[in-house]
């Protein structure tokens, strides 16, 4: 999958509140489908459907235990999805806030220069 397609899949998977809650649960450690179903007012097949979406997006994977088949969180795609635009935006936002301060300073200096010029021309 291309990077952009993978990001699309990540965002689509994150668009659902149940799937986000499943990820939040898995952030504290791997869990079986049964354990994951427990906190929800949903049937196991319904939860399994959500798990399939998360798995296709690469957000979760299955553990080795053949009996429990525990699901666990795959951090990388999520880190990519959260890191991408926001990190870049924050970086430039910091720079532009410094530029605001500099422009204020330049404006004040310009006013002073203009005033001096005006006083001089009056003489």
């Amino acid at each position: 999958m291309k990077n952009s397609q993978r990001l699309d899949a990540t965002f689509a998977a994150l668009a659902d509140p149940t799937r986000r809650a499943i990820l939040a649960r898995l952030a504290s450690g791997e869990a079986s489908v049964m354990e994951l179903t427990k906190p929800f007012a949903m049937t196991q097949p319904a939860i399994s459907k959500h798990l399939k979406v998360l798995e296709r997006a690469g957000l979760i994977s299955r553990g080795r235990d053949a009996q429990r088949r525990p699901r666990r969180l795959e951090a990388r795609p999520l880190a990519e999805a959260t890191g991408w635009l926001e990190g870049y935006r924050q970086f430039w936002d910091g720079r532009f806030q410094r530029l605001d301060a500099l422009l204020e300073e330049l404006k004040t200096n310009q006013l002073k220069t203009n005033e001096k010029r005006r006083t001089r021309s009056k003489r």
Binding site: L14, A27, A79, G83, G87, R98
Partner: protein, 172 residues
């Protein structure tokens, strides 16, 4: 009055990043802040801890510019390029390439300034050689990036979990 405008960031097509921002200053001043080295080095910095010991700008078409940032820990990062177009006080087009680039190829940056009632609207566009290069930049703006991404992951999961859980397992 201090006016810190909102920075809008979007992507256009496959290879471009577009940023727009309004500054509470006339266009001539904003243009100077983008073209005079003694002004550029005061704001074009990185996160805390980075300074800009080298800021040389040969401000004419075909003229080169060179920036070097240095971290308190000794780490250095340099970039530079060539001016392709200059229209005072509204437009600057220049190539850009980092010394140890983490994305392939050279990029082209365009700055357009429009004055509206004493304020100046900036549109800053960067065109990369490939969509892969653009993604590398968006994922890791300069030295921040992977680590910060993972830090945010923890926060994100906490907030997402709080809004998405159907039966409360979290305490408020």
């Amino acid at each position: 009055m201090k006016n810190t405008g909102t920075l809008k960031l979007t992507t256009r097509g496959d290879r471009e990043i577009v940023m727009t921002r309004v500054f509470d200053a006339p266009r001539s001043l904003v243009f100077e802040a983008f073209s005079k080295p003694e002004l550029v080095r005061q704001w074009l910095l990185g996160p805390p801890g980075w300074s800009m010991p080298v800021c040389e700008i040969d401000f004419r078409v075909g003229g080169r510019y060179r920036y070097v940032w240095r971290h308190a820990n000794g780490q250095e990062m340099g970039m530079g390029g060539v001016h392709r177009e200059i229209v005072v006080p509204e437009r600057i087009v220049a190539t850009e390439k980092f010394d140890e680039s983490w994305y392939p190829g050279e990029a082209v940056g365009t700055i357009v300034l429009v004055e509206q009632g004493g304020k100046t609207a900036l549109t800053q566009t960067v065109l990369y050689e490939s969509s892969e290069a653009r993604e590398a930049v968006l994922k890791s703006p300069m030295e921040q990036g992977v680590t910060a991404g993972y830090d945010r992951l923890a926060e994100l999961l906490t907030s997402l979990g709080a809004s998405g859980m159907e039966k409360g397992t979290r305490e408020s």
